[in-house]
Amino acid sequence: MAEKYDLQEREVWDGNFAASQALRQAQVDVVAAYPITPSTPIVENYGSYVANGYIDGEFVMVESEHGAMSGCVGASAAGGRVATATSSQGFALMTEVLYQASGMRLPIVLTVVNRALASPLNVRGDHSDMYLGRDSGWIQLDCFNAQEAYDMTLCAFKIGENHDVRLPVMVHQDGFITSHTAQNVYPLKDEVAYGFVGDFKPVDDMLDFSRPVTYGAQTEEDWHFEHKARQHKALMDSRSIIDDVFAQFKEISGREYKRVETYMMEDAEVAIVALGTTVETCIVAARELRKEEGIKAGIVAPRCFRPFPFDKIRDALGNVKAIACLDRSSPGGAMGALFNEVSAAIYTTNARPLVTNFIYGLGGRDFSIAEAKRIFKEQKAHADAGKITTDIQQFSGLRGPHLGFFQTKRS
């Protein structure tokens, strides 16, 4: 029986510590992991809980991230609660197995501390790894601070393990800005947290020998399509369950989460759509702009990156005139992913506001309040002109000459 861990009502934790405490409280059966900056402290903290008797489950330190996710798949198919953590190159290395985990409908929880992808090698935070996972069939929850990293990790188990979902879940936090910045975190008591997550109820348990199961079968053109369609449907259908879990979480914590978070959107004329810690920077910028210049600025932030909240995004942005979508990932010869997806959503409204795309903050380049203000003001200029007056895609915060692509054809 695990030792009791004493927690204060208010703790000062960084995002990594918050995530590792949530793993401890969820009483995970198997953590199979491999260290990588900046998520290493999650597994180090967990290792210290193991060494000091706070964990009843198994802790398997494998030889690579591919091995970590492979171990998680084997463990999850054996009918228990499973989690791991990674970042960046480690995420890239486990990508093959991410698809296999979701295809086998295994509710593994992966805490991802977002970091840039090489080359050039970079240990700082951007969203390249989160974007790499966007077609992998996982639910992706996004956190803006350490408190949320804790809260979303607990919610992730309850969402993924729901028998109507049965999908793996990633919980994303920004490398260093969230993962290594100590902040106030209000944890739940152990018994409250575990009571919320609940006991793991296995489906197709490899260790139930009264009913043998085959995992990872082959399907060709006769059945593969139907399997992938069902998987997609499960992701789409998870939306209402995510809402339910967030509602239940509010009841025990008082903290309210939505699949799309909105700030100051009630009367907003211009908006930024962003992910991660950038959301908080933009909130400060919007408050100041409202006070200083009377610009009605608001923020829309997908808490749930997958399944993409197409309808909620559309609802949130239906009344604004100009929108900037901020992508913290190198788009590799295209428009940013958030821009593409948000544009597609609002294209199906009558309003069809003006949308531009900013690529920013790559490799941990700082995103300042001043930069957020400049972007808001540019949207205000578009709104006033009734058209996009700049390049549609711009790099923001880049050294050297301006870099931008494509002009509007709307008059």
Binding site: S70, G71, G74, S76, A78, G79, D205, M206, L207, T214
Partner: protein, 317 residues
């Protein structure tokens, strides 16, 4: 451990049919003999992980499965890790009392071909063995990537022709020698390592039982003659395997705790490797006069290895 009786082949072969005959392996493929033997040598529950390869693609094509036991396939390289994860989950759930039957006896087994064992899954296997999981890894060694049409692997022996190391007017096939996986796995300190062959079915069953009984990670390399890529008549699988073991190209032996070597089969009449090579299409080109030196080299290597194994056995270190 509930070991089954292995006195009588007929009785043994039908003792515990958990591997269905309905699969799509080639007629004459030794894989199914080896798998069936493993599954028949114990009455314990089995959790089996399998790397991508001939065995996997032939036994779990939706909506069918040949496996009347828990079975998982993830990818080409990670069956050892899938077994590790399942074994770790078993320990955790047993400790917490959350298993459906907390007293059920279970063994964890991983299968891989030589491509997934010697090449692409080498790291995953090495990691799982280093971590000491209680499982048995069985390599079905047919010395090539047979599932994808017969490409060279690092288990392909020198002189064999494969689609990616072809014999031709300027080539005698693969130039490099086979990797010694048994020595590598023994060097990991695995408590039980062996090379076994399905023609010596009793020693194979005993070896499997020993591995399953042994706590910790065990590795067994099995000779799996491949009629399709070695190019021989499917009815001759066991005959070819006899030539393999009796020419000592595939010696049958075990290594306990990384050092104690025991030879498990000593042919009464050792035959020349030439006789083994001549029985297979993949070595046909070696019988041209210009490649005589390759056959001589193979014989020399086999003699040297047999000498080494005997000396190691004698030394008891």
């Amino acid at each position: 451990m509930a070991a089954t009786s292995i006195k009588n082949l007929k009785e043994f072969s039908t003792s515990n049919d958990r591997f269905e005959g309905a699969h799509t392996l080639c007629p004459g493929c030794a894989h199914s003999m080896i798998v069936r033997e493993l599954m028949n040598c114990t009455d314990d529950n089995l959790v089996i992980a399998t790397n991508t390869g001939c065995l996997e693609v032939s036994t779990a094509v939706y909506p069918f499965t040949s496996w009347d036991t828990s079975w998982i396939h993830i990818g080409f390289e990670n069956a050892a890790t899938a077994a590790s994860g399942a074994e770790a989950m078993y320990k955790a759930r047993k400790r917490k009392g959350s298993l459906k039957d907390n007293d059920a006896s279970v063994k964890f087994v991983a299968f891989g071909g030589d491509g997934s064992t010697y090449d692409i899954g080498f790291q995953w296997l090495s990691g799982a063995v280093e971590r000491g999981h209680d499982f048995t890894y069985i390599c079905l060694d047919n010395e090539n990537y047979a599932n994808t049409g017969g490409q060279r692997s690092s288990a392909t022996p020198i002189g064999a022709t494969t689609t990616t190391a072809q014999a031709g007017s300027h080539s005698y096939g693969k130039k490099e020698k086979k990797k010694d996986m048994i020595a590598i796995m023994a060097a990991h300190g695995a408590p039980y390592v062996a090379q076994l062959a399905p023609n010596k079915w009793k020693s194979m069953a005993k070896g499997f039982q020993k591995a399953l009984e042994t706590e910790g990670p065990c590795f067994i390399n099995t000779v799996s003659a491949c009629c399709t890529e070695w190019k021989f008549d499917p009815k001759d699988t066991i005959g070819i395997t006899d030539l393999a073991t009796d020419s000592l190209i595939f010696p049958i032996y075990e290594i306990i705790d990384g050092h104690e070597l025991n030879i498990l089969y000593r042919p009464k009449n050792v035959i020349k490797v030439e006789d083994y090579l001549a029985a297979q299409g993949r070595y046909k080109h070696l019988f041209k006069p210009e490649y005589k030196h390759v056959i001589e080299q193979i014989q020399k290597d086999v003699d040297k290895q047999w000498e080494m194994l005997q000396r190691r056995e004698e030394a008891r270190i």
